[in-house]
Structure formats: structure tokens, C-alpha cells
């Protein structure tokens, strides 16, 4: 198979029409929130008007992402429990749920790996006092978005990547580089940029594999990077390969993290596993 042209690949990713309508719904809700005048109830009412979106919000809050163990049945209940700051992220996440639905069609266990990385990221934010943990957790949840895009958009190459991972026991991203000339973090970034999502969300996804300390939001990126390693180390879900990438030294130092933090986050994640959160 000859290596496809990079610009052509990007154009094909950006042309993914089935998810391009997402930002319109998001824009309406976020405008309401950013206006600052709307109460949680008004926002809940706006979300509830769009039945598809409301269903997605409820599906998300009941998915284990937020760790609720009792079913949440109404949008306003979800809003009250989560708090206003989190609503925007919820709406945004709910809007991209279709992608997550398709995760386990890429390979079994990708959803569990993504959810575990999100939980580990939330745990790290809590331990390290990093702000807006729900946004960091969202980035962690979507960090492997590029793997989904590659599988959907480039099925032949996806098969070749899977075969190479099996034969060489390498990281999935190494096989992606060899087959496509580009890895899933960058492919994910193409689509997220096309959606005009903020860098606070895009950067942690774009650089979670190859940490770049000089970029904006490096602390969030470092959290997603370490959370990915922790989820893989503990063996929760399936990232597509059977290797644990090395923790980046600069990411480790930036976070001023130590092994007790890692242990605490591992224990929380194991408790989530025992509670059946990823089953």
C-alpha cells in the first residue's frame, strides 16, 4: 500500500459530514450559558426542547463518565447534580456521543479505555489541584478520537494498522505512522479544529502522545498523557495495542507528580473497575 498524501487525508477527515452539524446545537446552548443570564433551569429547558440532545445528555450522565451510580432520569436533575460550570461540557460531550457509540466498533474495549483515561484524568486533577477537571476529563475521554476517525474514514488502512500491531507488538500510533504517515492524535486534531473547538480541548488531544511543554494548556495535556499511561498500566479497557508508552519526563516534572499520586489514582480506578463502571 503506498502512503497516502497528507493534505488529501486531512481533506477527507474534514469532509466527515455526519458529525459536522454538531456545532450548531452546541453553539445555541453555549451562547445561552456564556450570556451569563440563564439559570440552570432555563438551560435545562433549552436542552430538553431538543429531544435527541436531551436523550444524549441523559445517556452521557448515566454512562459512568461522571461516576453516578443511581440512574439520572431528567435533564434538570442532571444539571443540578453536575453544576452550571459543567453543563457546557456535558452538552458538548453529549453532542459527540455518536462517535463514542462507534468506539467499540473500532475494536472492543476502546470505549472502556477512553472512559478509564477520563476517570484517571479527573483523579489526577483532583490530586494535583488542576482547574476545570471536567474539561480535562472530556479531553481525556476523546483523546483517541483519531482512532475512531481512521477506522471510519480509512478502513483499508485501519486493517493494515491492526495487522501491523498484531505482528510487531508495537504501539498503535507507531503502526499509524508507518501506514498513514500520521498518528491518531493529529487526525483527531484535524476534525476538532474543523469543528472550531477551543484549544483547551484540542491541545490535550493533539499532543497526548508526544508531549510538547511549550504549547498552551501543557498542564492539561500532561494530565491526559499520564492518565492514558495509568489506564494502560492498570490494563483497563483496550487502547488497541498491548504496550504501555513511557511517561514523558517533562510532563511528569510539569505536574510535580509523585508515585503516591499515581498509586492514589490507580486505587480509585481499580475501585471503579470493581464497581463495574467499565463493564
Amino acid at each position: 500500500m503506498t502512503m497516502p498524501d497528507r493534505a488529501a487525508l486531512r481533506a477527507r477527515v474534514e469532509a466527515m459530514s455526519n458529525i459536522q452539524t454538531v456545532p450548531q446545537v452546541v453553539a445555541r446552548i453555549t451562547a445561552l450559558i456564556d450570556g451569563g443570564m440563564a439559570s440552570a433551569n432555563e438551560i435545562a429547558a433549552e436542552v430538553a426542547k431538543d429531544q435527541v440532545l436531551a436523550a444524549k445528555v441523559l445517556k452521557l450522565v448515566n454512562s459512568g463518565f461522571y461516576g453516578f451510580r443511581q440512574p439520572i432520569t431528567t435533564v434538570s436533575q442532571a444539571m443540578v447534580l453536575l453544576g452550571q460550570d459543567v453543563i457546557k461540557t456535558v452538552v458538548l460531550t453529549a453532542s459527540v456521543l455518536e462517535i463514542m457509540d462507534s468506539m467499540n466498533r473500532v475494536f472492543s474495549g476502546l470505549w472502556a479505555h477512553s472512559l478509564a483515561t477520563a476517570r484517571a484524568a479527573a483523579g489526577l486533577c483532583d490530586r494535583l489541584g488542576i482547574e476545570k477537571p471536567e474539561e480535562v476529563a472530556l479531553a481525556a475521554l476523546l483523546h483517541d478520537l483519531g482512532k475512531v476517525i481512521i477506522a471510519q474514514r480509512f478502513p483499508a488502512e485501519h486493517e493494515a494498522i491492526r495487522k501491523m500491531v498484531r505482528e510487531r507488538n508495537c504501539l498503535q500510533v507507531e503502526a499509524e505512522q508507518a501506514v498513514l504517515g500520521v498518528g491518531h492524535p493529529e487526525v483527531g486534531q484535524w476534525l476538532l479544529k474543523k469543528w472550531a473547538l477551543p484549544d483547551a480541548l484540542v491541545h490535550p488531544i493533539a499532543y497526548h502522545g508526544a508531549f510538547q511543554p511549550q504549547r498552551d494548556f501543557a498542564d492539561r495535556t500532561a494530565v491526559v498523557h499520564v492518565a492514558d499511561v495509568i489506564a494502560r498500566a492498570l490494563g483497563v479497557g483496550n487502547p488497541g495495542d498491548n504496550r504501555v508508552p513511557a511517561i514523558d519526563r517533562q510532563a511528569w516534572q510539569l505536574l510535580r507528580i509523585d508515585l503516591r499520586d499515581v498509586e492514589d489514582v490507580c486505587l480509585r480506578l481499580q475501585a471503579d473497575v470493581d464497581d463495574g463502571l467499565f463493564a
Binding site: F68, R69, P71, A233, G235, A246, L259, L267, Q270, A279
Partner: protein, 98 residues
């Protein structure tokens, strides 16, 4: 050990893990033998599923997980940080860290 929906639970099955509520409070300890009354109570408490023992000794699962862990960390032998992270995960898997 398999996690099964509460509706599929049968009296006589033994809990492989404690049943906890949303606040991580233990409702029933590991090793409890389920009766139809207990299953009813769990349903009333909103519990949807439990982990039941598959009869294998708990050690077998730990040994399996440790072997898989070794495989995942191949190639990091000269990386002190990764070896230290691996040691943490070993402690979590064996239940030494709590």
C-alpha cells in the same frame, strides 16, 4: 470474576466483590451467599449488578493480571520511572496498596 445483572442473580451464588452504594458504602461484604431475600433488598437499594465468584481462587486472577502487566511493560526495564510506576500497579493489583 464475572459481573452479572441483579435480575440474573440466583440464590446460592457467592459475591466475588463487596456490593457498594453510590457513596462507596459497603452494603454486603465479599463472600456473602445470596438469598432471594438479599437479592430483593439489593434491588430495593437500586443495585443493578453484582460481581459473583466464579469459583476460581482469587489468586489465579491476580497471577493472570501480573503476567499481562509484565508483557505490557516489556522494553521499559532501563526506565526507572516506568519500573517504579509498574511497582505501584503491582501493589494495587495484589491488594497490597489500599
Amino acid at each position: 470474576m464475572p459481573r452479572i445483572p441483579l435480575k440474573d442473580c440466583k440464590p446460592g451464588q457467592v459475591l466475588g466483590r463487596p456490593v457498594v452504594n453510590g457513596n462507596r458504602m459497603v452494603l454486603l461484604p465479599e463472600g456473602t451467599e445470596l438469598s432471594s431475600k438479599l437479592i430483593e433488598r439489593l434491588a430495593d437499594a437500586g443495585v443493578e449488578g453484582v460481581v459473583v465468584s466464579d469459583g476460581r481462587p482469587a489468586d489465579a486472577e491476580v497471577v493472570e493480571r501480573l503476567a499481562a502487566l509484565d508483557a505490557r511493560f516489556l522494553g521499559h526495564e532501563d526506565n526507572p520511572l516506568m519500573m517504579a510506576v509498574k511497582a505501584v500497579v503491582v501493589r494495587v493489583i495484589t491488594g497490597e496498596a489500599r
